[in-house]
Amino acid sequence: MDESLLFDNIHVAYDKADVLSGVSMEVRPRTITCLLGANGAGKSTLIRALFGLTPPRRGSIIFNETDITGLPTHRIVGMGIACIPEGRRIFPKMTVHENLLMGAYQERSQAKIRSTLDRVYTLFPRLAERRSQLAGTMSGGEQAMVSVGRGLMHEPRLIVIDEPSLGLSPALVNENFRIIRRICEEGVAVFLVEQNVRQTLAISSYGYVLSQGKVVASGTAESLKNDVQVQKAYFG
């Protein structure tokens, strides 16, 4: 079975103005694939299209050889795709523990939830200490941990991570990249959306560069490091 995620000729429009026009890409299993691009390039729109929050006007999205274009969000998530959304989007008035339980919302086996919970608490001992604290009262770095931990609770086959470094200190950014690499090493495909070009390319194996709603460059992370399009996408 091919567990790839494929975007095929995706068009997305808000109020008739095309935000994405003909985007095609592939996220392969057990690898980190990154999506680079400046603000407003359409990165978040592509993620919204993937999860059915803004269904594409044209084109199709295939995961695990199944067409998931425009399915209700919970069905797409049920295919084994987790999201660590931009801006963390933790549930502020829930405890850390409840936030993590939300990550495993579709899992019915209590035993399985407990073992995943143990794994996440081992990965983030800080969250174990603060399990009964309301997530909204935590620091930005801790909220980032909650968001990542919540995504892992889903035990996904593919995890989409949208702008994880946003608003974090350099030390925490490094920590984040270390964890992302570790997630991939455990056999999960990672689709990483980032602005932090150098560090992102350092851990990715493949990358795409989006500019004004189109893929302007793609290739192995190694080849993208020196690509002029990458420079142009960020610096005009």
Partner: protein, 307 residues
């Protein structure tokens, strides 16, 4: 004024407060989860009363030998099932499709819906434009002294109401469904991304709010021994005010608001015995003053945090 009379007012106030709290819980649940004010909610309560009455008539006609407890159970069951179905229907046909529309449209649609419900009962229920006597349902045991009457049915209704509120609280805070409801209330999109079936959660929330309202409808009938097609208008206005006083979106606030409103009405009746008919005017007047003092409700978070 004698102590016993005052006590009597308190007991009546507590009964009314429980009834208002049950209605207000619906308003606050719907607002918390979907940010909508469902103005037909009061009329949903009225539909509960009439469904219960219909069941009572049916039982009387076909099974006159049914014991009182059985009849009471069937009446509540009929009221709750009809109103739960109605609530889910309203959610699916009106609230969810209007999700993307301006909030004003939902407001208007639910107000119209309330009118449709009211007029339907007036026109299509047998002799619907006149008040109907509502059966007592519960045995009329009571304890009397010179001025004080402690009715068994009041006590039973009050305890059932408290039990229902406790059940709602348990569902919201201790179950998987409750977790999903709170998630949708706090961040709808994030909840979807965690795999929550949004439509199902909305339907469940409306079923819950409507079921609680149906019980309030039966309670209202028993308390006043009479129901009319228009009873939902005032109950709706009171329930909505109660929810707003407490802070919309907050279940405890709604309960507090319900009791505060009943307390105000009672004060109005006690303090102005010469003008007891004005007790609602007094109560709503104080509500306006309370809102001027605390625009976001008594126990809600500051407006700046509700982004």
């Amino acid at each position: 004024m004698e102590m016993e009379l005052l006590l009597q007012f308190c007991i009546n106030g507590l009964m009314l407060g429980m009834m208002y709290a049950l209605v207000a819980v619906g308003f606050t649940l719907f607002f918390g989860v979907l940010d909508v004010i469902v103005f037909s909610h009061g009329d949903t309560v009225m539909i509960g009363s009439f469904s219960g009455l219909s069941m009572y008539w049916w039982v009387n006609a076909y099974y006159p030998a049914m014991p009182a407890a059985g009849t009471a159970f069937l009446v509540v069951l009929a009221a709750v099932s009809v109103v739960v179905l109605l609530g889910m229907g309203v959610a699916d046909a009106v609230i969810v499709p209007l999700r993307k529309a301006p909030a004003l449209n939902t407001l208007l649609a639910t107000m119209m819906l309330g009118t449709v419900l009211r007029e339907s009962i007036r026109l299509f229920f047998p002799d619907g434009s006149n008040p109907h006597p509502f059966p007592g349902l519960l045995p009329d045991w009571s304890w009397r002294s010179s001025q004080l009457t402690l009715r068994f049915d009041n006590l039973a209704l009050f305890c059932s109401g408290a039990l229902i509120i406790a059940l709602v609280h348990f569902i919201i805070n201790r179950t998987r469904l409750g977790l999903a409801i709170r998630a949708v209330a706090q961040d709808e999109e994030a909840a979807k991304l965690m795999g929550v079936n949004f439509r199902l959660v909305v339907l469940a929330t409306f079923a819950m709010g409507a079921g609680v309202a149906a019980f309030a409808g039966v309670m209202n009938g028993i308390y006043y021994n009479e129901i009319t097609f228009g009873v939902g208008l005032l109950l709706g206005a009171i329930g909505f005010s109660a929810a707003v006083i407490g802070g919309l979106g907050n279940v405890f606030g709604a309960i507090l608001g319900g009791f505060i409103f009943a307390f105000l009405q009672t004060i109005g009746a006690v303090a102005m015995p010469f003008a007891a008919a004005y007790k609602d005017v007094f109560a709503f007047g104080v509500v306006i003053a309370l809102l001027a003092w605390r625009p976001t409700g008594l126990i809600a978070e500051p407006a700046s945090k509700r982004v």
